[in-house]
Symmetry: C2
Subunit: 280 residues, 2 copies
């Protein structure tokens, strides 16, 4: 892998570039992004060069699509005509079935979907950091097991490990069901909680009394609609299923609170919270 | 204020002692706690001395009750017979109406309820830190405005500011309604979410795919039942009201997700999340 092209040099794309450098990658990193982003990415030494998509792809061993989902879906069909044979195309989109279907149509380039479970409140290349993926799951979503065994895929997997991430392999459909629960449901709950409190007649006093728990619980509510519009559009059935499951559980918890006590709920909640911390 | 007695030298009581020291308090700090906790608090120089409640109270200018709510409720009626006239009794309990009612019966000592909106995952005196209250709201719940104007209350308020906390005054009833929304509702949602995911057939994969958002969303689920039993018992009507409001809002959000889109929900959620960060 000599030349990596990052399409969309924001928080994730920029962090992937920095992480490759930190992990010892000494090839060329080319960015494809808006003029302003490219200027900033060059200034911060995140990329070596900015180029238009066609010229960048013609040199790429790895094309890393890190924009919003709709832009990934727009870009994939344009890659085959420019990419060399054997180039690996991967992405960092938060839902995988629609992207995998688009990727499956590539002929010269190979597609392997991915989803690094990393992020933070700040966006943009100025927030990029080389350690963003350390200790975080990196979900890979091949259409078939053979997709993981091409030379380009094996090399990419090695880099995922070298940047400190923990790769996990799921089918695109499994991925979308899992993240509907692990990521999309928590997002909607944080948005809903923030909305409930923001609309409350005492919302000023509630905000003024906020402790660290409420700060944690509303962090996701600061997420950008630009990103979430696409996620909600491309994973609706699984997200609705997760939301229904949660609402039913919340109603059952309310009933237990009225009729008895919640000791078992607290024990179960703690068990899972500890389990997910131990499985990282 | 020369002698401060901390009853219950755990995370909050220990942190209050350390915070006083950091803020320049040069009087005596006496701890009332289990033998083991006193030994650890002495070893870590959190307190100067451990004493039984009666002997400690006889010397106190300020009695700071930092145990669980049931222990605060048990302790308050025992204070008058030992405390000197003019001693201020305050507490750090998470609900205030029942505690304020108990405090109102004190005759020699003056009661002024309090609730520092600070905390963290770890408990116990070994987790105590002098900076725990910096920038955090410190809710004070006088029964009447005059309670804030006694010399002992004025001095205590000055120390609350000196330890870096931001004092806010509410009636006990207002307090319990506000924290039902700002603190108790987020706790139950985190517990419910953790339970939903922990019981899910794919819970292992969900845990393995957890990103920073799910880690934040499940942090409160690690809270101790020992503490929450009392909170849930002593603030039931307000917590049920908050929970019902949230469940109705979550159902309405689900309906909007099916029929249209959630852009306005994201905007509202973000607005409140930013507002609470700015009001700290």
């Amino acid at each position: 892998m000599q030349t990596v092209v990052i399409v969309g040099v924001g928080l994730i794309g920029g962090s992937f570039a920095l992480a490759l450098r930190d992990a010892g990658f000494d090839g060329r990193i080319i960015g494809v992004s808006s003029e302003r982003t490219i200027a900033e990415a060059l200034r911060n030494r995140v990329i070596d060069e900015g180029l238009p998509l066609d010229r960048a792809c013609a040199q790429a061993d790895l094309i890393y699509l890190a924009g919003p989902i709709h832009s990934i879906l727009d870009t994939i069909p344009r890659l085959d005509e420019h990419a060399r044979g054997g180039t690996l195309v991967t992405d960092a989109g938060s839902t995988k079935q629609k992207i995998a279907a688009a990727g499956a149509k590539l002929r010269r380039a190979q597609f392997l979907g991915g989803h690094p479970m990393a992020g933070k409140e700040s966006r943009g290349v100025q927030a990029a950091e080389g350690q963003l993926f350390v200790g975080r799951p990196y979900l890979l979503t091949p259409e078939s097991p053979a997709d993981m065994e091409t030379p380009a895929a094996v090399e990419f997997l090695a880099w995922v490990r070298k940047i400190g991430a923990v790769p996990r392999v799921l089918s695109p459909a499994q991925h979308d069901r899992i993240v509907a629960h692990s990521s999309h449901l928590p997002q909607l709950l944080s948005t809903a909680l923030s909305g409930t409190l923001g609309r409350h007649p005492d919302s000023e006093q509630i905000a003024a009394a906020a402790g660290p728990g409420l700060v944690d619980s509303t962090r996701l509510a600061m997420s950008s609609w630009d990103i979430w519009r696409d996620i909600l559009e491309t994973n609706r059935p699984s997200i609705l299923e997760a939301l229904d499951l949660f609402i039913a559980d919340a109603q059952a918890l309310r009933a237990r609170y009225v009729s008895s006590e919640l000791e078992a709920d607290f024990a179960e909640g703690k068990e899972f919270a500890l389990r997910l911390r131990n499985s990282r």
